[in-house]
Symmetry: C2
Amino acid sequence: MNDPEFIVVGAGLAGLAAARALTAAGRQALVLEARDRVGGRLLNHTWSDGHVGELGGQWIGPTQDHALRLVRELGLELYPSYETGTHLAYRRGRLRRFRGETFGLPPWGLLDGLVAQRRLEAMARAVPLEAPWSAPRARAWDGQTLESWLRRHMRTRVGYEFFRAVCTAIFCAEAEDVSLLHFLFYVRSGRSLDQLLRLRGGAQESRVVGGSQRIALALAEQLGERVITGAAVDAIEQGEDGVVARCTGGAVHRAARVIVTLPPPLAARIRYSPALPGLRDQLTQKLAMGSVIKCMARYPQPFWRDAGLSGFAISVERPVNVIFDNSPHGGGCGVLLGFIEGREARALGELAPADRRALVLENFASYFGERARAPLEYEDKDWSQDPWTRGCYGAHFAPGVWTQFGAALRRPCGRVHWAGAETAAVWSGYMDGALRSGERAAQEVLA
Amino acid sequence: MNDPEFIVVGAGLAGLAAARALTAAGRQALVLEARDRVGGRLLNHTWSDGHVGELGGQWIGPTQDHALRLVRELGLELYPSYETGTHLAYRRGRLRRFRGETFGLPPWGLLDGLVAQRRLEAMARAVPLEAPWSAPRARAWDGQTLESWLRRHMRTRVGYEFFRAVCTAIFCAEAEDVSLLHFLFYVRSGRSLDQLLRLRGGAQESRVVGGSQRIALALAEQLGERVITGAAVDAIEQGEDGVVARCTGGAVHRAARVIVTLPPPLAARIRYSPALPGLRDQLTQKLAMGSVIKCMARYPQPFWRDAGLSGFAISVERPVNVIFDNSPHGGGCGVLLGFIEGREARALGELAPADRRALVLENFASYFGERARAPLEYEDKDWSQDPWTRGCYGAHFAPGVWTQFGAALRRPCGRVHWAGAETAAVWSGYMDGALRSGERAAQEVLA
């Protein structure tokens, strides 16, 4: 095979979208993927009966136009996430039933939450997505943690705890890990807090029939031999004529330019020659991946629906923060999906698998009854243990990072360009953002 | 050469101290160093006339017992840092002269600073050095940036700015980069804020005749062939029988255990097999190096002394935060040393070398007159550009890191043990801490 014009490191959505755009422009691109599969943070799981679920990212929602268009173009189908019926919330030893978006909060907590939401949304509107550091109050907002803001502005304990849970649900990181400016950027990047949190009308609205990884698999199929799996890029050397990418196994690829799509903390682990500028290197030192264990249990039927329950349950006090009905399209079985996030993910990450399974099922049973304790199958994935991802959903920005290092996020370093969900201005951290970032990087190298 | 019992990665003070302790115990250790020199963040610079200065860490002070003892044992000599005369502070367009430790602050700013110092010192005393996360108020202190605390508690603008400058002087990072808990840990680790900041009686009290790197050079000389330079460890594989360390050039070394002494963000860039536990990996994602450019200018004489000036000058408004008389032992020439730290280091790191030199000398001249503008020689080093360090003085902890990830800082991962100045409980971040950490890790692998 002749040398391609462009090398893309990573066959997640960003890398595949970049290669697709380059190919569509009639140019040659080669995607190098460390894993023996494509999809990155998208990962289907096939149950023993043939049904498919996802251990990685899975949802698509309105305004995620790049993802929606791609799904259509690939001939894939979407179906709505299930949310019919009554939701559950556990708090202070009691199970509370609720509908709509009250999250089971008492009236004063709800009011507190709504006031805070309005304030945060108003602040978020002042954050320029392409340059959050240029917001009028950027220094002040980036000088503090989200936790500091919540401690100062929330008037009720439940409202405070609710927003902490919102933070872990969005970032898989605690409110003390995240800069207030980053939280505001992220809210604006995903349109609004409501849109980030909602199923219907929000980022969790739709699922892909057959599992979200099918998007990546379909893209890879179109790219054919242009995607090489099991090719971990270890070193990237830039010269006057082009770049050389060296893989751990010894394979060497040459091209004019390279697009690195790995999350910044992992992009840092490639050896670059000449060394990257200090600002870029230090940016990658500053960004860290969230912590999450995604847990799924499969049952003969979604039995909770018979009891009028939606399968959606939340608690700020329990290791499993949030639970969804994640049953596959077309019925045939029922699946509950639980997220263990942030601090809890690290605590439960230390447990033996059997102990973690028991604890999660105990949690499920506390909402949905004893039948939930005995699934046909159980599967979970702690993304911090995955050597090619090292945490999910993505990398978050601590205080001071956007205002001091943000300018290096997308700025190319010679012939090395940067993509990945973290580099997206719109829908940063989501599949849609990953696609946008890959397309943006493809335009960059073509220009 | 037979396989050693122990491999030490990194020939900075931590690694050399570990190898020394192992050798002293009659055991075989091999030190692998990526650079073509030993010393890590210690780096002598020899001026054209043969005088020696330091572009890296340089000072030793009281209670740094491990460093003081080692200097004595190696037959090296210390001499006092120069601080005779009047100090200078630039603020609001005016140059102010001061003596003692008022830092040129007006009385109300000084009072504000002293009150804050007392509060912070009292809080610091509640931080257990071996486990900062177990401080009674750890969660609250680790939930906020130092910046948030300063905004809330400083009563004057000058006091606030002064403490921000203290932060950059200590960490080469801004107050928004650093967790309040980390600041308190660091203050206690270095005994007190006074001790961190002082020359006489503090961490900047003494210098090593011939330059601080002589400590590393002397240790390496004693270790002889046990130190291999130009050996960048790229991968570490653990098996049942021991470890294998692979270097980029292809060299392979085997041992029973390995001590990795790199700063955590750089230790993350080694490929470990099997992959390290998620908690450890995410800790390394969370720690980042500070940003500093160390600048030195050599003159025929320390002419400022004739004017009654100590050579010590500070400003929170200028790119060069702090200036010292850094003339070599025994006279013969005069050297001014300036530190550009944190945000300023990144701004000036983007300048062409000649422009940066001009700006620094302009700064020197504004304190010490026109003669300072025309040195015999000028030299600076931006540590963020150094691929084997990627920032100085060391790694700092953002909010949430100590309380969520701190337990992984020193915890061995199978046959892989951790040392380096960042892992020290006492004098963390200093030469003394580096030595303590190496000695501690040596005891660990021997046990």
